[in-house]
């Protein structure tokens, strides 16, 4: 469970808040954060991961609780170590550069937590298998393609069996098959895991989301189920699903068709 209450955050030297009085709750399941550029979705993940302001610098006010701990404090981060999996949009910059193989890269976080060696290797193999990347285990990380590496890094985020997964544009390097597999991985996670995804790929991410939160200017504009992605709020912020966008441009009345089936049914034939 993740709770934000009147949270504001400003990066160093910025002239406005990246998050401005944000309040929402992400229960176990998949919550999708969407919004136009600069909406603050990635920053929400950084704060929840305990990386902002600790690593980024800046000022935070308000409250954030992750699994009943405050990730903006040292004590909170210590308690949450290994219980949060965080994935950045670019898999390349997440490589430790200190490993010999993909399985070592997946093991990195567990090794840093001081787990016993065999437990680490078992967890890494399990995580690689869960993202259908077991065959990549012995490959050198730098020899992997973008899609392969993104799957390996997802496995790395899963390796410590986190209770919270924070995924920032996790399908940016994946093709449609890879994205499908990724959604299958999300679906296979235990119900107790809280997943927060910031994504610009609303079409695909919407399929996996139990809840959608639409953000703009660092605050929540609307929240609810996936139908938000076919709302006028989403239309105004260019966050519609493709069927909804086609429907909107074809003159369909609000609410716009969310899925392809609805689109076919509702758009008048010409």
């Amino acid at each position: 469970m993740i709770t934000f209450e009147s949270l504001s955050f400003r990066y160093p030297s910025a002239d406005r808040d990246a998050i401005d009085g944000l309040s929402f709750e992400a229960a176990p399941g998949v919550t999708l954060l969407v919004g136009p550029e600069g909406a603050g979705t990635s920053t929400v993940l950084l704060v929840a991961a305990g990386l902002a302001p600790a690593e980024t610098g800046g000022q935070a006010s308000g409250q954030v609780r992750v699994l009943d701990h405050d990730p903006t404090t040292n004590a909170g981060r210590r308690e949450l170590a290994g219980r949060i999996g965080y994935l950045q949009p670019s898999p390349w910059t997440q490589l430790s550069g200190m490993t010999f193989s993909a399985v070592d890269e997946v093991s990195f976080a567990a090794a840093n937590l001081g787990w016993e060696r065999q437990r680490i290797l078992d967890a890494a193999q399990r995580a690689l298998t869960s993202v259908d990347a077991k065959h990549l285990a012995d490959r050198h990380p730098s020899s992997l393609s973008g899609g392969e590496l993104q799957r390996v890094m997802l496995a790395a985020a899963l390796a410590t069996d986190p209770e919270v997964l924070l995924l920032d544009n996790p399908t940016s390097e994946l093709d449609s098959v890879g994205t499908r597999r990724f959604l299958d991985v999300l679906a296979s996670l235990p119900d107790s895991v809280t997943v927060l995804i910031a994504s610009t790929d609303v079409d695909r991410a919407a399929d996996a989301a139990d809840r959608v939160i639409l953000m703009d200017g660092g605050t929540v504009v609307a929240q609810g189920d996936a139908s938000i992605l076919a709302s006028e709020d989403a239309f105004a912020r260019d966050c519609l699903t493709t069927p909804a966008l086609i429907g909107a441009r074809s003159g369909a009345l609000h609410p716009f068709p969310l899925t392809l089936t609805e689109l076919v049914e509702r758009v008048p034939s010409r």
């Binding site: 950045q88 910059t93 997440q94 550069g97 490993t99 070592d104 990195f108 840093n112 001081g114 680490i120």
Partner: protein, 235 residues
């Protein structure tokens, strides 16, 4: 130019990273401690021979390129403008020896192997990761520079002739620096999110074996260092 780890099979590759590190330390100390001119010359000959025997002679062309500017200025300052050719020779030999030793260390030491070696000795994880990051800096910058240069060539940059090359260098500088700074930010976030700063001692996944030969080599190198320092103070 070879400025980072490259896989190989010589005995220096198989040596424990601390043994290679001790070799660098021994070079640094003895090249200054042993009497000129024989001392620095002997150290340079020794380290070059070691590079050949250890299967890393590929570092020597790079070492020559890196040492050339030093030799040039030493000759200008001490031989052409001054009157101390021996001094130029001694300093040149000292600098060349250090360059060869550092390059051997860079080429044979995989950052991960060094980290595992340090973690296995219960040394602080922060220091291990910092050292490993430093070893990766030049190869990463070179890869980034190559990518930026390719992108700029595609966008019409011409690098023929001296003027074109200088222009290309200027066009490379800003994106290289800004890109590197951005990458440092992202990488520090990635490492922090993967438990690097939890304060727990990491588990080394592949701690390198520290053979009795390694321990003997280090002992001899320490003896060599102490002897060289003793010679320095006793003569």
């Amino acid at each position: 130019m070879i400025l980072g780890y490259e896989s190989g099979s010589g005995f220096l590759y198989r040596a424990h990273p601390f043994t290679v590190l001790t070799l660098v330390l021994a070079t640094l100390v003895t090249v200054f401690a042993l009497p000129a001119l024989v001392g620095p010359l002997g150290v340079l000959v020794g380290i070059v021979l070691l590079a050949f025997i250890g299967g890393v002679s590929k570092v020597l062309p790079t070492a020559s390129v890196l040492a050339a500017p030093f030799w040039f200025f030493l000759v200008v300052i001490h031989v052409i403008l001054g009157d101390a050719p021996t001094r130029a020779l001694v300093v040149g030999l000292q600098v060349s020896s250090m360059i060869v030793a550092f390059l051997i260390f860079l080429v044979v030491t995989h950052p991960g192997r060094l980290v595992d070696a340090m973690l296995a000795r219960r040394l602080p994880a922060g220091a291990a990761y910092l050292l490993a990051s430093a070893l990766q800096t030049v190869p990463r910058l070179r890869a980034r520079a190559a990518a930026i240069r390719d992108a700029q060539l595609v966008r019409g940059l011409r690098v023929q002739g001296v003027g074109g090359r200088v222009q290309g260098l200027l066009a490379l500088g800003m994106p290289l620096v800004l890109g590197a700074l951005h990458e440092v930010d992202e990488r520090s976030l990635a490492l922090a999110s993967r438990g690097v700063q939890t304060g727990l001692h990491p588990t080394p996944l592949h701690p390198p074996s520290d053979s009795s030969l390694d321990r003997l080599a280090r002992l001899l190198l320490y003896v060599f260092i102490v002897a060289a320092v003793a010679v320095r103070f006793l003569t």
